[in-house]
Amino acid sequence: MATMAEPVGPMRPNIASADIQVPAIKDFEQVDREIGGTLSPTKAWFMGLGVAMTCLGIGIAAWTFQIYAGLGNAGYAPPVMWGVYIITFVFWVGIGHAGTLISAILYLFRAGFRTTIYRAAEAMTVFAVMTAGLFPIIHIGRPWKFFWLIPYPNWRLLWSNFKSPLVWDVFAISTYLTISTTFLYIGLIPDIAVIRDREKNPTRRFIYSILSLGWKNTDREWRHFTRAYLFLAAFSTPLVLSVHSVVSFDFAMALTPGWHATIFPPYFVAGAIFSGFAMVWTIIIPLRKWWRLEHYVTLNHLDATAKTVLFTSMVVGCAYLVEFWVAWYSGVKPEQEYFWNRVFGQWWWAAWIMLICNTILPLSLFSQKLRRNTAWLFILSIFINLGMWFERFVIVVPSLSHEFEPWQWTSYTPSWIDVSLLIGSFGWFFMWFLLFIKQLPIMAIIEVKEIIPPRRAAAPAHGGHH
């Protein structure tokens, strides 16, 4: 039959596809088949889940003991009343940041390399913030009183003090968790509909039907979805910058050497993005290998992320230098002594782990060969995660252990409970992540479909796909 297909005019680049090429992905069916194929459990997945749950069990056992025996077992002694718990809290909040940066900020900037990694990064954000949120509750010692953190009036109608950074923290973290979960779920709805229509098991199909809310890919749905997604990205962008700024205020608002500095918000935000990207590598590099999805997360994409890591590493390195310079230039003796003690005194080992992992090793990414070497990126990601945990250690512990009065100077050693809860936090995070990747697509099916040229009967009127 003669048909009347007309050449359609030049394709306007979609936000997801502005600068990306994935030539090995040919059509929509291939996308559904290959990404849908990641939902089948494997032996390696069960083993991974087993390891994660064992780590979580260690954490739960330690926490149970701490509740029974008291917070005094956590290794805190005046004046070091913040230790591993707050360090780990800041660490996990920071990990979450790259997810929102990749899913929201890079979406607004039309950075195409985000397309195949943003779902994993976004899920990582949600689970990292869930993990972070546990630590203030663990740290209060009496977790059943956690609701005191929520701003509400007491029986004499005395409200919480809205000038307190700790109250800002509650607002920031709870807003961040809510919005990043919402953003993740809204982006998932069309993908869940794809899975729903491929699913053969009636129970799973029913669950996916509920979760997809009856989504059908109509023009009406797409029109409102794209607009809503854009606004959610626009809200998430300042949110991600504000959350770690607010977390940094927990320190910067205190008159403690090493903390009371205006550089803290940008310093924390850059560090958070840096560590979050490293965690994205830790997760995505093994996954692309195990599922043979190298043609989705290509070396070009990893190269682009490596450049971001290199840039944020240099921002962080610059912040470290500025901190030293401000301490010297201020002429304030306790401030100068604190920084000397941090790098050449009592805490030299922690400071040098931080400096080597966060500023020296990432310089290797100036080499394009190493930027495209997945084994090196994976190893580097572990070093960066280690370095960023120690960055928070170096911020929290040396300041509290070396304040203004020499008679107060002390040391700090994490107890076995601290270490167990740190291990437990990784177990908690990876348990949720592993459960997620077997129930829901780890790559955004609809956005991957956006970046491949649609089937056409006639050649495009003005050139091909961008």
């Binding site: 039959m1 003669a2 048909t3 009347m4 297909a5 050449p7 359609v8 005019g9 979609n14 059509d27 929509f28 069916e29 559904d32 009036p153 004499r156 109608l157 005395l158 409200w159 809205f162 000038k163 800002w168 607002f171 920031a172 807003t175 919005i179 919402t182 953003f183 809204i186 069309p190 794809v194 229509d197 491929r198 809310l213 009856g214 989504w215 059908k216 890919n217 109509t218 023009d219 009406r220 749905e221 029109r223 409102h224 979805f225 794209t226 809503a228 606004f231 959610l232 809200f235 998430s236 300042p238 949110l239 504000s242 609809i446 956005e447 649609p454 089937r455 056409r456 009967a457 006639a458």
Partner: protein
């Protein structure tokens, strides 16, 4: 209302069929697409989504509420500190900002659900599971006397499958 459903394998055939359907005004048209295409947005020519109004109203109201609750509670039970302002707008901007983001984003989602008519408990008459995978589709709701014209139009524009939907 009953109508005709057509499946398309190619985007350009879909676009030209939609254009012709709009020209002939055979009935209400619903277009199904596995992903977003600007070509479809252009040919459908629907007005800008009103979701933005939900965003604006939600954001403004909650930002105002954030300032109001923190100022009101400070004045209701003043915590006087060394000559400092009882209600200080600078820290309260953080509360206001967080409230704006939280409620503004949730209002956006609410607006999307209302306008997209989600959630839906049953799938529509014209829906075909292939529309979420690789196929494009058009469902035109038309009276019986126009069904033949719609079927011919879809055939001329290269539909891979045309059928009645009730």
């Amino acid at each position: 209302m009953p109508g005709i459903v057509a499946n398309f394998r190619e985007l350009d055939r879909l676009v030209s069929a939609v254009r012709e359907l709009q020209r002939q005004r055979l009935g209400d048209v619903t277009v199904y697409s596995p992903t977003v295409h600007h070509e479809l947005e252009d040919v459908i020519g629907a007005p800008t989504s009103p979701v933005r109004r939900f965003t604006l109203v939600g954001g403004l109201l909650s930002a105002s509420f954030g300032y109001w609750i923190s100022i009101w509670t400070s004045d209701y039970w003043p915590l006087v500190t060394g000559g400092k302002a009882i209600a200080s707008w600078i820290p309260y901007t953080i509360i206001s900002f967080e409230m704006m983001v939280l409620v503004g984003a949730l209002s956006t989602v609410f607006g999307m659900f209302i306008n997209s008519r989600l959630p839906k408990l049953v799938l529509d008459v014209g829906f075909d599971p292939r529309f979420t995978n690789g196929d494009y589709g058009i469902y035109v709701q038309c009276p019986p006397e126009k069904e033949r014209a719609a079927q011919e139009l879809f055939g001329q524009h290269g539909a891979s499958e045309v059928r009645h939907a009730r």
